[in-house]
Symmetry: none
Subunit: 195 residues, 4 copies
Amino acid sequence: MAGPSEDKRRLILAAAVRVFAREGYHDARVGDISKEAGVAYGLVYHYFTSKEAVLEAVFRETWGLMLAAIHDVEERGGPAPDQLRRVCKIVLRAWGDDPDLVRVLVREVARSPQIQREIDEIEQAFAALERIVARGQEEGTFTKDLAARTVALMLYGALEEILTAWVLGQLPDDEDAVAEAERTIVALFTNGLAR
Amino acid sequence: MAGPSEDKRRLILAAAVRVFAREGYHDARVGDISKEAGVAYGLVYHYFTSKEAVLEAVFRETWGLMLAAIHDVEERGGPAPDQLRRVCKIVLRAWGDDPDLVRVLVREVARSPQIQREIDEIEQAFAALERIVARGQEEGTFTKDLAARTVALMLYGALEEILTAWVLGQLPDDEDAVAEAERTIVALFTNGLAR
Amino acid sequence: MAGPSEDKRRLILAAAVRVFAREGYHDARVGDISKEAGVAYGLVYHYFTSKEAVLEAVFRETWGLMLAAIHDVEERGGPAPDQLRRVCKIVLRAWGDDPDLVRVLVREVARSPQIQREIDEIEQAFAALERIVARGQEEGTFTKDLAARTVALMLYGALEEILTAWVLGQLPDDEDAVAEAERTIVALFTNGLAR
Amino acid sequence: MAGPSEDKRRLILAAAVRVFAREGYHDARVGDISKEAGVAYGLVYHYFTSKEAVLEAVFRETWGLMLAAIHDVEERGGPAPDQLRRVCKIVLRAWGDDPDLVRVLVREVARSPQIQREIDEIEQAFAALERIVARGQEEGTFTKDLAARTVALMLYGALEEILTAWVLGQLPDDEDAVAEAERTIVALFTNGLAR
DNA sequence: GATGAATGAGATTTCATTCAT
DNA sequence: AATGAATGAAATCTCATTCAT
């Protein structure tokens, strides 16, 4: 599973994240990726069918990790506002953990035609947020006046916008600023949903 | 200003919106635009310096209208929550008015590398939202605990996400649904900011 | 019809014949064709959709001329052996007229997977030969013991082989040799079909 | 000679015939051959120096068998028309015996640039046909008016064309049709050469 | 202003061949 | 002998931009 060939695949994927982050998916040439990974041009095509498939793999494999973390939050349970906070923390901390990756996800995947957004994975993130909101409504913590799905979309949009602002350097992104953003979004949505 | 040549320019611009909406900026060929507009290939280059300049013009000229509408809201004054509602209405109603245009703005401009987001125009939208929030804080309607700029970003993100969901067909977009989205976002942010 | 653009198209086609003859279809690069024609690389793709389309056009437009000549023979009528002689003459004289073209037709088109042989045009040549044989049978000049279609195929094969031998330099191809080949094939098939 | 390794070599060669027949030499990938043979990619290169060398081996080893059969006909002697008939039979029966092989020989070898036709083996086939014709002339069965070499070429072309027609499905190829083709070509050339 | 033929740089992708194991 | 990952040269095709009319 983690044989030498699997390593090369990971090498290429990691290099692709850096290259896509630096130059953007479209401007990045496949040769840039192979060079960055220190492998031969053709090896990229040995592991992936196309440049687009590389982007897709980057997305799928990292998004999967985030989804798992979110599902973990749900499974651990606890009050809805708490779950909401923990999810926001996971999403926003991603920036500090791997800015290149966030940059790629935000710029290339978020609403790109390359990777159709409709694909299940993104829908699953919406669904998780929606479930958390719905749970709060059932608990009686959140108002039932607002549709959970609409709120979930807005929460998603708000989170993405914060990440985008960091990506584009439009907002400070030091530790404090990250903590503040987290506090703000949680307060806004928790209060916003309060009965 | 509205001579026969100006007409051709508008013809091209309107065609470009349709083509970009249909095929995406990147996949759209200049020939597609000229064909859609019913003019000669070269005429596109007579009026615009490049394909990118066409997109930029689309953005600039329509974004300007929206900014003016938002500024108008500010000038008319009134309570901050009211101003916020009117702004959300303007943004969300754009979908019904010109879906192709919204599609292009959301997909191609919002966070694309093509048109650098830093450009003043987008910043001005943030600033307007920020001013409205700040005004609410000064009025005493909104809490001062949350940074106006951060909230403004989140509001922008939430609005954009709703439009995106409509663009991608992930959310109903009939009259009622639009009204509901408007009500939801206003309630969410007004309550969320309430002292 | 013969505007300056049509000229360029012909220029490219003529250059392609020379290049294909010299290097073979497969080894020929599109750049070789454009260079030989003295036009820009992209112009080849302005007039043809692909390298294969160039070969196809070469075939179609020249084969058409030959078909016309053969049909002309048929229309002029006369005894079948005479018609047969005139057709052989047309085919074999093509070598002297445009060796490059014959080289391309023989090597690349004749039984290549590139241009499916089944295409109508080649079938029409068979059909014409078949008609001439059949006419001889009706006249009473040729035996009815042999199937006209089979004989037509053999005649075609024999002609093609002679051209191939010239192309590959396996047989002298001076005027006398051409005349001799013509005399031989006509004698062979006329006697072979004699009652 | 027939060790276990020799088996693998044959395995690859037989697979190559099927693959070349199916996809054509050019479109066939080395990986297709190894997969068809059920051996590792690299093993093809253990036994053959290149993809072309595989085609050449296919040709050489099967053509050799046919040449031997033709030489056998010559050695057994008998009247020239009889020898001619037997040779035609050998050539035409190959289709029924191994259509894939004939397909490859006809399409890829016959007049391909890959395997230069001048190579001895093909010349030897011409030479054999030529000798048979010449023998008929010496016997007094065939006219001396026609050059044996030219006639040999035509005979070769006619045979090849029949095979080609079968390969391309342009002519029925059941037992009866094969017998008819044989009869036709023999009659045509025997009569054609009659004094 | 208007036309559309002409240009050519540049990107993706393929796949025969090599080579370390 | 056998394997298959790794290499990288080479070729097609696209299309934004230019330009002569």
